[in-house]
Symmetry: C2
Subunit: 312 residues, 2 copies
């Protein structure tokens, strides 16, 4: 860190649980018991509980100077205003920064969860020390974030980084917005499973969708299953096409890839390296790294805490 | 302009001619006679002529405080070092900024021509007043530039903005680098012409490639030729797919599109608007503009002059 390390709270607000932790610089000092999201109906109750937790954490860590919250949805970063969280009932048009700021008396920043993940990797993780970094989490959907010239690039509507919606085929499968060829319709968890069922069927092997999770396909590939290896090569082809396009556009220093699908490790990363290299000029490729994320579950806490610390 | 307007020289270094002009703020005060590139063999002679022209222009415009040069190739912006100009013999590893700076005694900046075009539109043209702008020139190839948060984004190797190399089809036509589905293999001048010949042939109409320039296809569409209109709709589909992907990634305020293909005007821009909107969420679309470039031949002079003025 360029300045002396600040102590801040990171809150990772998910549809299932709200995770909280205290960070100082790149160190995660303490992780609190998660709040089950569904136990608190509506924003007022849940923000109340967040504020109570913040008060408790401050008692133990008096140096805390800011709070960062990452939410699974669209945010107006400047105002810390949550437009809508589709997976959390009642969260629509919530001035989260204002309310939590008033209740805690601390500076609060509110950002998108994929931005927080990217920022965690940029500040303290796999991409530490770099300044042009593209983060991706690949799971049920694909989220992304951009650090350009050492700062989050959020775009005019704070909606930048939607890598999962980028097209890899102008006439391909329709995405959530009717956008043809959306990447996440190829390399999301469910789509990988569906593709695997089909590939096995073509080889005369019957598989249930539930048996074709990315984790299972990775295990099969590890065990020497050629079809499973082929599936990872195809996933790498699709994902690599999108990464190469992003590299041509932004000429970044690194992609940092996390989320469940990235757990496949070398099964994914090896063919992905090969694919991306095959699509780029030397000058774009030679300074590009494709890195597995350092953080997993704690990425949100660390990223939000860092965003908050850097804002004060 | 935020500061009081500075007077600077913009040099647009092309494979055929080197164009020079004097700008003050967003005003093009004077355009000099172009230098025929081939008349000066090698960098030393040509840079000598540039320096002589700069001296002449300074005699007439004593307020000139900087020189900006845009080149058709890869540059190290920080050092003003030209890596290679594939279309200009002898231009390889040339420290243009250093040499021209020594010869003129003025601060010199050297950038890529597509960056200069984008900067011209951002500073003085169609995207004036915006801060997140993606520029494209569509002609023989497709060049691009990015202004993000009010500054050129050049990337770690100064190679950002290569929109023509982005893939719109993971299994599509191979581009110059073996990258499948490269946009410029669909919507470059030559590719539009080839596609048109094929579309006419499918309708039983024999056309020569030379008769299928974008200009001719635009004229035919204007005259009511349904096949020609269909061709523009297809070009808009391909281009729109790439623009939508960029919009999902960057959430910019504007695309500014210039170059010969953009001369088709509404024939291209109308279906392009429709296509891009159909691929985006409301939040990404509602603050996005798709604009024809204001400048054409003079974009390089204006953009390079502005880059130089803003650097001093």
């Amino acid at each position: 860190m360029s300045d002396s390390a600040k102590t801040s709270i990171g809150i990772d607000f998910g549809g299932t649980s709200v995770k909280l932790g205290v960070c100082c610089g790149d160190e995660l000092l303490f992780t609190d018991e998660p709040i089950p999201t569904a136990q608190f109906h509506g924003p007022t109750a849940l923000i109340g509980e967040m504020a109570a937790r913040v008060a408790k954490l401050r008692a133990a860590h008096p140096a805390i100077c800011a709070v960062g919250v990452g939410v699974p949805g669209l945010v107006d970063f400047e105002h810390g205003f949550v437009h809508e969280l589709t997976n959390v009932p009642g969260w629509k048009h919530v001035p989260l920064k204002t309310i939590l700021g008033e209740k805690t008396g601390l500076p609060v920043v509110v950002d998108n969860d994929a931005n927080a993940m990217t920022y965690a990797e940029f500040r303290c993780g796999a991409a530490r020390g770099l300044k042009d970094v593209v983060g991706l989490t690949i799971g049920t959907g694909i989220g992304g974030g951009l650090v350009l010239d050492g700062k989050m690039h959020r775009g005019i509507g704070c909606a930048a980084g939607e890598i999962g919606q980028m097209s890899i085929h102008f006439d391909g499968k329709p995405g959530h917005y009717g956008n043809f060829g959306a990447l996440e319709k190829y390399t999301g968890n469910q789509q990988i499973a569906e593709h695997a069922v089909q590939r096995y069927a073509e080889a005369g092997i019957d598989k249930e969708l539930a048996d074709c999770t990315p984790r299972n396909i990775a295990a099969a590939a590890q065990a020497g299953d050629d079809i499973a290896r082929q599936i990872w090569a195809e996933v790498a082809d699709w994902l690599g096409t999108a990464l190469a396009s992003i590299a041509w556009l932004l000429n970044p220093e690194a992609f940092v890839i996390g989320g469940g699908v990235a757990q496949a490790g070398d099964l994914l990363f090896k063919p992905l390296h090969h694919k991306v290299q095959s699509m780029l000029s030397t000058v774009v490729w030679e300074r590009l790294q494709i890195l597995p994320a350092r953080f997993s579950n704690e990425a949100g806490i660390i990223g939000n805490a860092a965003l908050a610390a850097d804002a004060v």
